[in-house]
């Protein structure tokens, strides 16, 4: 479904910053219907990687093939048409504050020139899917973080895409909401058979959601394979340290449960890691 072949991305040197190589020859194959996680620390290049799939970033060299088309060769005219086949969900939701829940979800269809009837037909079934029937005519300012992300997910699904790109979609959410959003995504994958690419820095997200995972460090995929295999036998130091974080979080969580006093300090540490 998606194939990245030797994808390189270099940001040219500008005043005040040196040349920066974000991706150094990425090869990744993603089959239809699969959920693939890309995990790494900040600056590993995972956000650049996902943006090379829908060409929000143009690869410096290499090719990106989606559903049989080499997308790096698309013209400026055809690029928007191609992007309508991919849905994208963002860490900070990126909802329009001026639009209601319904109108936010309808936006991709509006951009594609759909009629009012077509929009209603596509959006109305999505509201119960993400559990937001009640919030149909509310504005994003009236919603919680989890509800905003549900709108973001419904919006990404409204144009009936083949692929869903998820960029740190749970990083701005609390653990309970994270669990709900991950369950929702898993459910959507099962029901609609969507291919998903999931960017995250948390192993817990990979464990809960993904079939396969690619571990990134300094613009390179250092380890890749089925989730069970990676968790059972992590080979690369980066993978091991990401897994160690998870174990620490787990221990910190259980300690916090037994002694409520340490709760504030552990959540402080967790917040520090996120930033």
């Amino acid at each position: 479904m998606i194939r990245l072949s030797n994808v390189q991305k270099t940001y040219a040197a500008r005043r005040g910053s040196d040349e920066h190589v974000a991706l150094r020859g990425i090869n990744l194959d993603i089959a239809a219907g699969e959920i693939v996680g890309v995990i790494g620390r900040s600056g590993a290049g995972k956000s650049t990687l996902i943006r090379c799939i829908n060409l929000l970033e143009t690869p410096t060299s290499g090719s990106v093939t989606v559903d049989g088309t080499d997308v790096t060769t698309l013209s400026k005219r055809d690029l928007p048409l191609f992007r309508r086949q991919l849905g994208m969900v963002f860490q900070h939701f990126n909802l329009l504050s001026s639009r209601t829940v319904f109108d936010n979800i309808a936006l991709p269809l509006e951009l594609a020139g759909a009629t009012k009837a077509e929009i209603a037909k596509a959006v109305d079934p999505l509201l119960p899917l993400v559990g937001l029937e009640e919030k149909r005519d509310r504005h994003p300012a009236e919603l919680s973080g989890g509800q905003k992300q549900r709108v973001g997910i419904a919006r990404a699904l409204s144009s009936n895409p083949k692929v869903l790109l998820c960029d740190e979609v749970t990083s701005a959410l609390d653990p309970e909401t994270t669990r709900q959003i991950l369950t929702l995504l898993k459910d959507i994958n099962k029901r609609l058979g969507l291919t998903m690419v999931v960017i995250t820095h948390e192993m817990a997200v990979v464990k809960a959601l993904c079939d396969r995972v690619a571990v990134m460090d300094a613009g390179v995929i250092v380890e890749e394979g089925a989730v069970e295999g990676i968790f059972a036998d992590p080979k690369h130091a980066t993978t091991q340290s990401l897994l160690a974080d998870e174990f620490m979080d787990f221990r910190a969580g259980s300690e916090a449960n037994s002694t409520p006093k340490t709760n504030t300090t552990t959540s402080g540490v967790a917040a520090g890691q996120e930033g």
Binding site: N54, L56, P80, L81, F82, R83, R84, L86, M88, F90, H92, N94, L96, S97, S98, R99, L107, P108, E110, L111, A112, H139, P140, A141, E142, R155, S159, L165
Partner: protein, 219 residues
């Protein structure tokens, strides 16, 4: 006394509102696209065109740095070319418009740059064409700021319109200068000042009301 003052005060107020409304409308028609292009033609932006920034950036700044009364006098030949005369209410609309265009352009530019870049990215990811990013995302999201800015422009134009009164444009400023100042009628001067204050208050309140209605960021 009031009975003789009321009709001329009313007429002058009407002239002022006419000058401000027409110049604000024409200036928005030019300032809006100019502001949109200033906000989107920078490096790596939607309609990257660095020549546009280099030409219109300084031009806008230059127009804004000329004191209004000097601008009004300096462009008299242009005014005469456009409306056929350089005196009267209609003639005053030309310098008012010319002064307001760069002001509005900067306001629109500023309001659009306030919009979170993540929204532009999201719109592009949805398959929005550059024009659609402007019409469907940037302008609606910037609307509260734009309304605030246009209100500010309207109030500034009311002040400017009193200034062009000094060079024979009619309106409240003209009334204040000719009757209040030159004929030593402090009552007329007071009436003019009070009317101006009331007009500005009404315009500002109306603008604030519209901006609040458009703003859905804090509900």
């Amino acid at each position: 006394m009031f009975s003789t003052l009321a009709p001329i005060l009313l007429q002058a107020t009407g002239e002022t509102l006419y000058m401000v409304a027409v110049s604000l409308t024409i200036a928005t028609a030019f300032g809006l696209p100019l502001g949109v292009l200033l906000a989107t033609s920078g490096r790596g932006e939607l309609f990257e065109a660095l020549w546009f920034q280099r030409v219109f950036g300084p031009l806008v700044n230059a127009t804004r740095s000329v004191p209004f009364i000097i601008l009004a006098v300096a462009i008299i030949p242009f005014t005469r070319f456009v409306v056929g005369t350089s005196i009267g209410t209609s003639a005053a609309i030309v310098p008012l418009t010319v002064a307001a265009i760069p002001f509005i352009a900067r306001i629109i530019e500023g309001a659009m740059r306030e919009v979170d870049g993540g929204l532009i990215e999201a719109a592009q990811a949805m398959g929005a064409r550059p024009v659609q990013v402007v019409t469907k995302v940037l302008l609606p999201e910037a609307l509260p700021g734009i309304i605030h800015g246009l209100t500010l422009t309207a109030v500034t134009l009311i002040g400017y319109s009193a200034m062009v009164g000094a060079v024979g444009a009619g309106g409240l400023g003209d009334l204040g200068i000719r009757y209040g100042y030159q004929r030593f009628r402090p009552d007329v001067m007071a009436a003019v000042v009070i009317t101006l204050i009331v007009v500005v208050q009404v315009v500002q309140s109306f603008g604030d009301y519209l901006a609040r209605k458009a703003d859905k960021r804090n509900i």
